[in-house]
């Protein structure tokens, strides 16, 4: 085969294993789920495919509160994550030096300790009679009869904490590859650190920012563990509803419909974000050569 053909085939060959895997173990199952969402019935009578698109409108009507709340919480957590994570990623990338890998490991280490144990830990720390709450009460931030645990604060804090590495790692990856010479040139041009940051570093780190915010926001919106363990029913998110519809009430059509609705919202948000951040950053076509 001529070299040209081989060359043209390369991207497809590279793509095949990964894409094939996803098609078989992700796309196909989703098709099944899609069909499931259009069925009606119960576990006793069985589920029949009735093309019940009304499942979607019903689901949206009944659970709009939880949808909105999920986006609120995920949004807050993402912003917080960015504020906390960016400086940390910056310091590791530019000031880390020989400690760089060690610091990255430190960021990831909490993940090795299992979700449940981490959350249990937070429950201990934020407990009503614990050190944190007592201190905050004496300072006046928390009212006397109030508490930190089982409130919106604890849920958002939990979400932020559990998704922080998702923000930091992509940020680091993209900050780290910024060529030092560009920064030097920036200093020569602009002189002030603030300008260098705003006009050189930040724009160059945008792919990382986009990746990080998406990797945080999207799963956070579908999260249910934090709300379940650190919150009350008034904090429950759409993830909790899906979990319950699926596993407790065995209402599979509604659960499937809710899932697709959530995915649809996410994709819309991704598209809007792509507009704002610039399509190139999202689709990753920026900086490439034809």
């Amino acid at each position: 085969m001529p070299a040209r053909l081989r060359k043209a085939a390369v991207p497809y060959l590279l793509l095949l294993p990964g894409l094939g895997w996803l098609l078989l173990f992700f796309a196909a199952p989703l098709v099944i789920m899609g069909l499931e969402s259009l069925k009606t019935g119960t576990i006793d009578t069985g589920f029949q495919l009735t093309w019940a698109f009304s499942n979607y409108s019903d689901a949206l009507k009944n659970y709009d509160e939880q949808f909105i709340r999920s986006f609120e919480y995920a949004g807050m957590a993402t912003v917080l994550s960015l504020l906390i994570g960016y400086p940390l990623a910056y310091v590791i990338a530019f000031r880390g030096g020989r400690y760089r890998n060690a610091l990255l490991l430190a960021v990831i280490v909490p993940f090795f300790v299992t979700y449940l144990i981490r959350t249990l830990s937070w429950e201990t720390i934020l407990s009503d009679s614990g050190l944190v709450v007592s201190t905050l009460k004496s300072v006046g931030i928390v009212s006397d009869g109030g508490r930190l645990l089982d409130t919106t604060v604890s849920v958002v804090a939990g979400i932020t904490y559990n998704y922080l590495p998702f923000m930091i790692l992509p940020l680091y990856a993209s900050l780290e590859r910024i060529d030092g010479r560009l920064l030097e040139a920036g200093y020569d041009l602009y002189g002030r650190r603030r300008d260098v940051f705003l006009r050189v570093t930040l724009p160059l780190s945008m792919p990382g920012v986009v990746a990080g915010t998406l990797l945080t926001f999207i799963p956070a919106a579908g999260d249910f563990v934090n709300a379940a363990l650190l919150g009350t029913p008034h904090q429950f998110m759409i993830g909790n509803v899906i979990q319950s519809r699926f596993l407790v009430v065995a209402d599979y059509p509604t659960a499937a419909a809710l899932s697709f609705l959530l995915m649809a919202f996410m994709l819309v948000i991704v598209l809007i974000w792509a507009r704002i951040a610039g399509t190139e950053a999202l689709l990753g076509t920026e900086g490439e050569r034809a």
């Binding site: 196909a28 098709v31 119960t42 069985g46 009503d128 614990g130 319950s244 009430v249």
Partner: protein
């Protein structure tokens, strides 16, 4: 004239390079593949019939056979003696190695995980699973479990305590045998309550606002409140249950109820984040060991009595062996070793006497060996018809946040 290789290559190249043709081929190919697979799936998954025998009376009894070399039991975590003595003794007697997997964390989650296999008559290798009454009832109703041959299980038939001999969902105990039983009642912090609680009134006392939790287990929370409202959970109507749900909703909205939990209430009450809650007797026994300030009491209106049951799923590869095992654990000495660790209500007669010899305190514990009078003040939630179950589940789920 046969086309030369060169020609072929050139044609092929052109095909690949021409964007229009390539796109067309890819599109058609993709579309074809997609529709083919879609059709295949539609055929396979168009309907989701409940398989299995939906009429329990017609079920065949498990045939006698030989005891197999292995067996798979699915149970709740930490629900058997710590060092698995009971399993070892079974192996000594019958030579069967028991694969014991603690995969049942929650009735609904377990159901969600196994229902498709069970519906196809495939138990996933499981020979025994242990689920709570109402889930056991559902399994029977859907035809997912096998019928016992009682002649294989003499000990079980003989030693089962009276109060559990004939539950409404399985009057002849042909499809389920109790593993452990338990009580739902009030667990509280002696050092943090004004006075010893006596009834659910105390859980609704505004003095404890934000320090009260109920259970996610619908039948426990709703049953207790139904009894408190004056109706008998063993016979109540759907409306009476819904009234109880309404009450729970009020209290949750006002912030009186901090949340609805599973076993996690143990950490809340240990830390003092909650001071008076609805909880389970077995946990109470253990909590007391950790903190003598914690105690358990049945509400005046009555607590709830529930049982976790052993069942043999359809398609179980070693059903006969499973029956032998069920019978085995109904011997008092074996059950005694389980009871020493598990601390829930023992369903087997004669164990108390065995335990008395080594651990008097355990034998005297009313939460493990309750006398009939104690159990008088408890209720069993009645079996629900499928649509009742759905309505009630729905309403309750709305309250607990999902």
């Amino acid at each position: 004239m046969t086309p030369s290789n060169d020609d072929l290559e050139r044609q092929f190249e052109r095909l690949l390079r021409d964007p229009l043709t390539r796109r067309r081929i890819l599109q058609r190919g993709a579309a074809g593949a997609l529709s083919a697979s879609a059709l295949a799936y539609l055929a396979a998954c168009g309907t989701d019939e409940p398989a299995g025998n939906s009429n329990p009376d017609e079920a065949k009894t498990i045939a006698k056979g030989k005891v197999a070399g292995s067996m798979y039991m699915a149970n709740w975590p930490l629900y058997i003696d710590e060092k698995r003595e009971s399993l070892k003794k079974f192996q000594e007697k019958y030579g069967t190695k028991v694969k014991y997997v603690e995969e049942v964390n929650d009735n609904d989650q377990f159901f969600g995980k196994v229902r498709q296999q069970y519906a196809q008559g495939d138990s996933g290798g499981r020979d025994i699973h242990v689920v709570t009454d109402w889930m056991a009832a559902r399994m029977i109703r859907l035809g997912y479990v096998q019928k016992f041959d009682k002649s294989t299980m003499p000990n079980a038939s003989q030693n089962l305590i009276d109060s559990l001999k004939s539950p409404p969902f399985d009057p002849k105990r042909e499809f389920s045998m109790p593993w452990q039983s338990g009580l739902t009642g009030i667990i509280y912090r002696k050092d943090k309550v004004k006075r010893t609680p006596k009834s659910l009134d105390d859980l609704f006392d505004p003095a404890y606002k934000g320090k009260v939790t109920f259970l996610t287990e619908m039948r426990d929370s709703v049953g207790a409140v139904t009894a408190w409202q004056g109706a008998d959970p063993e016979k109540a109507s759907l409306d009476e249950y819904l009234k109880a749900v309404e009450k729970l909703k009020q209290e949750s909205d006002s912030g009186q109820i901090r949340g609805f939990t599973g076993n996690e209430y143990t950490k809340d009450i240990t830390k003092g984040d909650s001071v008076i809650i609805l909880g389970w007797s077995g946990d109470a026994v253990q909590l007391k060991a950790d903190n003598p300030n914690i105690d358990f009491v049945l509400p005046e209106s009555g607590g709830m009595l529930w049982t976790d049951n052993m069942q043999i799923p359809v398609g179980a590869p070693h059903a006969y062996t499973a029956e032998k095992f069920i019978d085995f654990v109904y011997q008092p000495e074996i059950q005694a070793s389980i009871e020493a660790y598990v601390n829930y209500i023992c369903p087997v007669n004669g164990v108390k006497e065995v335990v008395e010899k080594t651990d008097k305190a355990l034998a005297e514990n009313p939460l493990i060996f309750p006398d009939p009078a104690f159990l008088d003040n408890t209720h069993i939630f009645r079996g629900l018809k499928p649509d009742e179950e759905r309505q009630l589940d729905d309403a309750f789920q709305q309250v607990i946040g999902a």
